[in-house]
């Protein structure tokens, strides 16, 4: 149960990161999700990524909507403030939080019901605004908490647990994020922790709207034959387009070991995304060709995963608004209140 905290004790020889924290310091409460749920693997990947990049846990704010996926922020980074908000409306809450304090890392956790159905508008608009965040959709194509209804990302013809076929076309959030102007778009699979951890690390370092669509099978309601979001189906149809290695800016960059098939993308903070190409016709810095690439894969029923698109010189909402570099929530009376003298002048202009 969520109110059961994990014991703080851990093995004395657990490796520590640069902050002296062990992986355990990035954990949260015990998960209440079903055993084997893909979402728990994603939480584990978030823990691993934050541990590896030496992120002070309290400098991250985790926000979510409503649903199984949105419960998960309780299960990682217990020293972070969290906000389990309103169904489909996490993006706006995260946007406001981001405006209030630009110095924290913002992680939005959502699901396919939360982001592709009730919250489709907010999803698209917060990406359109370039909010500096990592937005993860834990995508299982099904409503878990209400027991097995199709969500808007369920593929046409995919079978429900009771055998009914989904009549509607799926909403592809990767395509939508690209159209809306996301400057970092990735897709992964909860069963591929290695790929996912690197994507999360790169997304945190990215400035702007970073979106990760993570296929995360629902073991209770959507893991049967005929479902296109089952572990077996996703493993069979997973087409990784590249292998990502995230290199923090503080490390020295070594020479490309495999020129021609490796691309180095340097982000604004100096971090380098080293991408080993697996798909010949994929260029992760060309939005139009990536959209084309994704559409072709979708049509073939293949799930393209990896770092699909990145804009190295991206900007974020606060840049666009020209907001001060100091966190707005730290400004005091002298910064904010123009005082009686200015008011006298305003009065004088209104006579």
């Amino acid at each position: 149960m969520t109110y059961i905290a994990k014991p703080k004790l851990h093995h004395p020889k657990l490796p520590a990161n640069a902050l002296g924290f062990t992986r355990r310091d990035y954990e949260g409460s015990v998960s209440t999700l079903c055993a084997g749920c893909g979402h728990d693997s994603i939480s584990a990947a978030i823990i691993q990524a934050c541990f590896e990049i030496d992120l002070p846990p309290h400098r991250l704010a985790k926000l979510s909507g409503i649903g199984c996926s949105s419960k998960t922020p309780t299960y990682f980074l217990g020293q972070s403030h969290g906000f389990n908000s309103v169904h489909g409306r996490m993006p706006s809450v995260l946007t406001g939080a981001n405006l209030a304090n630009r110095d924290l890392v913002y992680m939005g956790i959502s699901g396919d019901g939360d982001s592709a159905s009730i919250g489709l508008g907010q999803f698209a608009h917060c990406i359109r605004r370039g909010v500096n965040m990592v937005y993860i959709v834990e995508n299982n194509g099904v409503y878990g908490l209400t027991k097995g209804q199709f969500s808007a990302t369920a593929d046409k013809g995919s079978k429900s647990k009771k055998g009914a076929g989904n009549p509607d076309s799926p909403m592809d959030l990767v395509s939508l994020a690209l159209i809306a102007g996301a400057s970092f778009v990735g897709r992964s699979f909860s069963g591929d922790k290695k790929q996912l951890v690197e994507l999360i690390k790169a997304a945190i370092a990215h400035k702007g709207a970073a979106f990760l669509d993570v296929i995360s099978p629902c073991v209770a309601f959507n893991n049967h034959a005929g479902s296109t979001k089952s572990f077996d189906y996703v493993r069979e149809h997973n087409e990784a387009v590249n292998a990502l290695e995230f290199i923090e800016g503080k490390e020295e960059i070594t020479i490309d070991h495999d020129p021609g098939t490796t691309i180095n993308v340097t982000q604004h903070d100096g971090s380098v995304l080293r991408l080993r190409k697996l798909a010949e016709d994929h260029d992760p810095t060309d939005r139009a060709s990536v959209m084309n690439f994704i559409q072709r894969h979708n049509a073939r029923g293949e799930i393209a995963t990896g770092l699909l698109y990145v804009e190295p010189d991206s900007e974020d909402l606060l840049d666009r608004l020209g907001v001060t570099k100091r966190p707005l929530n730290s400004l005091g009376d002298t910064d904010l209140c123009p005082g009686s003298g200015a008011l006298e002048k305003i009065n004088a202009g209104l006579r």
Binding site: H58, L94, Q122, N329
Partner: protein
């Protein structure tokens, strides 16, 4: 024989125009010219939801005595819109005046014989003077202002000065506007001398008062109150709050390394309040401005902010509802919507400004209250306050005042080992401490959620923990009573058992109505409510009077409902006076309705005459 209304500095003129014809700036020059002569003037736009073509009216109340609410009726009609001619002429008070464009002859059936008709061939003069159709239209407006100057005795110098101010920076426009003004004035001087019995006379009754719209004043209140985040969605009549905030911030809040504010025009009202709540959660002062339909959309989020205890300020510029209702008309019909916003049990703090000056003060105060009480605070203005220019005392700010950020536990507090429970009532006032995200590496983090939790913010669905929390929220609401602006009580000249309660934009009409009621020997003690929850003195006022009238601008007596809910008083002691046709309430309406009802409320004579 025709009687004529003969009045100095005390009359109402209504101008009928076509929306988008450029009349607005001309009408403003007309009203302001009189204010510059030291005469108090209240002016109101009555306009449609339209950009061009539909009828619009501008009502000017000239009152040396300083009554700036609507009086009711009008003494003179400036009829510039053929579409509404019949209704406009029919509405003139007997003995009043009709000023019209006499270029095209009209049959006598189009006039009345109990009013004075003053014709001026405006179109003919314009067509002679100008060849460009747009100029013919625009200068016609300034021309009638010139004519009105002459007819009413307005000093042309003042109109001229206003034209110069209006077109400062577009200097080419000054001379032709002056010319049109003079043509109008000279024609009226030569041909219409003494035609009108309404006159203005220079006075000294304006003082240092300013002319400001409530929306601009509320926006300025948010600047002074320290709001750093604004999120909004365009909706009449609140749009100009956000626009004014942006304008003031640009001038007053630009720091050395960037803007000390952030404004997001959201995709809808749901996102607007979401941004406000996210910013409030993270320690910024944030507000949204909207109207009734926006509040309807925000319900779920408002419930979350109440239950999760997140500061937020909502400026509700009320309009005629329900549904799209009358977007450009005024009402006070969102009280219950706002007071109980959300599913489940909620109660919200409402501030009720009476004019732009209070809109300024209460918007700033709302930001303090939101932080202090950690809850949504509504500033309930309306279209009448928000979109009309009101003559009010100059805005004032005390430089010694500091923002009240409420109960926030700092890094030092946590380091010192203070017990932090996000929903722990440490002071007995129902208000817990909070921490801002990112405060401390291993203390003070908590999880915010709409689901129930214990005093330490740990998820629980246990009944007693839920009830404990809901009871504390009620205690917090009780605390709010002593923090919100108290009511304003004004006693009748002599002791009386009768009272009247009102709030908001009704105030100016009420102030005038009370004089007429006094003259009619209906003596009422007055109580102007300025906030919900009600201060105890409100209920005392009701208990200390045999009978109380509750005047409000909605159909369902929403304030009365709140009073009965709070005070548990006998409903028969509260009689409603309700005005909700979408136009601001008038002094005449209040006088007539209370006089009528007072006859029925008077105790029966002990000795009946048989």
């Amino acid at each position: 024989m025709l009687s004529r209304v003969e009045k100095i500095n005390d009359f109402v003129i209504r101008l009928a125009n076509v929306n988008g014809s450029g009349s607005a700036s001309a009408n403003r020059i007309f009203a302001r010219s009189m204010i510059r002569m030291g005469i108090p003037v209240g002016s109101r736009n009555i306009f449609p939801s339209n950009i061009q073509g539909l009828p619009t009216w501008y009502e000017v109340r000239v009152s040396g005595a300083g009554h700036l609410g609507r009086r009711g009726g009008y003494d003179m009609m400036v009829a510039m819109n053929p579409q509404t001619w019949d209704k406009d002429v029919a509405g003139i008070d007997a003995g009043g005046y009709l000023f019209y464009d006499s270029t095209k002859p009209l049959p006598s059936s189009k006039f009345r014989d109990d009013i004075t008709v003053v014709g001026m061939p405006l179109t003919e003069i314009c067509n002679k003077q100008y060849s460009d159709p747009r100029q013919r239209q625009l200068f016609k407006n300034i021309m009638y202002v010139g004519a009105l100057d002459a007819l009413l005795g307005i000093e042309t110098d003042e109109s001229e000065a206003l034209i110069k101010e209006l077109y400062q920076g577009k200097d080419k426009l000054i001379a032709p506007n002056m010319e049109a003004l003079h043509i109008g004035r000279d024609y009226a001087d030569q041909h219409l001398k003494g035609a009108i019995g309404l006159k203005v006379k220079r006075a000294d009754a304006v003082g240092d008062r300013i002319l400001i719209e409530g929306n601009a004043a509320a926006a300025l209140g948010c600047v002074y109150g320290g709001a750093t985040v604004a999120a909004w969605y365009p909706i009449t009549p609140s749009t100009s709050v956000a626009e004014a905030f942006a304008g003031y911030c640009k001038k007053l809040r630009t720091g050395e390394d960037g803007n000390n504010y952030a404004i997001v025009q959201a995709e809808d009202e749901l996102a607007a309040i979401g941004v406000v709540i996210g910013a409030g959660w993270n320690g910024s002062r944030a507000f949204t401005a909207t109207s009734g339909p926006g509040i309807s959309l925000m319900q779920e989020f408002i419930g979350l902010a109440y239950f999760a205890e997140i500061p937020a300020v909502l400026i509700d510029v009320q309009r005629g509802g329900p549904s799209t209702g009358m977007p450009t008309r005024t009402q006070q019909s969102d009280l219950l919507l706002a007071a109980f916003a959300s599913h489940g049990d909620t109660r919200h703090v409402l501030l009720l400004p009476a004019d732009p000056k209070e809109a300024f003060e209460m918007s700033a105060q709302a930001l303090d209250l939101a932080d202090r009480l950690q809850t949504p605070i509504f500033v309930m203005t309306d279209l009448d306050i928000g979109m009309n220019e009101w003559l009010v005392d100059p805005l004032k700010w005390d430089d010694k005042k500091r923002m009240d950020r409420g109960k926030v536990m700092t890094h030092a507090d946590l380091e010192a080992g203070k017990d932090f429970g996000r929903y722990l009532d440490v002071d007995g006032d129902g208000i817990p401490f909070r921490t801002y995200p990112g405060t401390h590496p291993d203390k003070g983090a908590y999880f915010t959620r709409g689901t129930s939790r214990d005093r330490y913010a740990r998820y629980t669905e246990e009944g007693p923990a839920y009830v404990d929390n809901m009871e504390r929220l009620l205690r917090k609401f009780e605390t709010a009573k002593s923090l919100v602006p108290p009511p304003v009580k004004i006693d009748a000249p002599k002791p009386t058992k009768y009272g009247v309660i009102y709030f908001g934009s009704t105030t100016s009409a009420m102030d005038e109505a009370i004089l007429a009621l006094n003259e009619n020997n209906i003596l009422l003690d007055r109580l102007r409510i300025r906030a919900y929850p009600f201060n105890d003195t409100v209920i005392d006022f009701i208990k200390n009077h045999d009978h109380v009238y509750v005047v409000e601008q909605n159909r369902d007596a929403q304030l009365r409902t709140l009073l009965l809910d709070t005070g548990k008083v006998d409903p028969s002691r509260l009689t409603s006076v309700l005005h909700y046709d979408g136009n601001p309430i008038t002094a005449r309406f209040i006088v007539n309705d209370i006089s009528l009802k007072h006859g029925m409320n008077k105790p029966p004579l002990k000795e009946s005459v048989s």
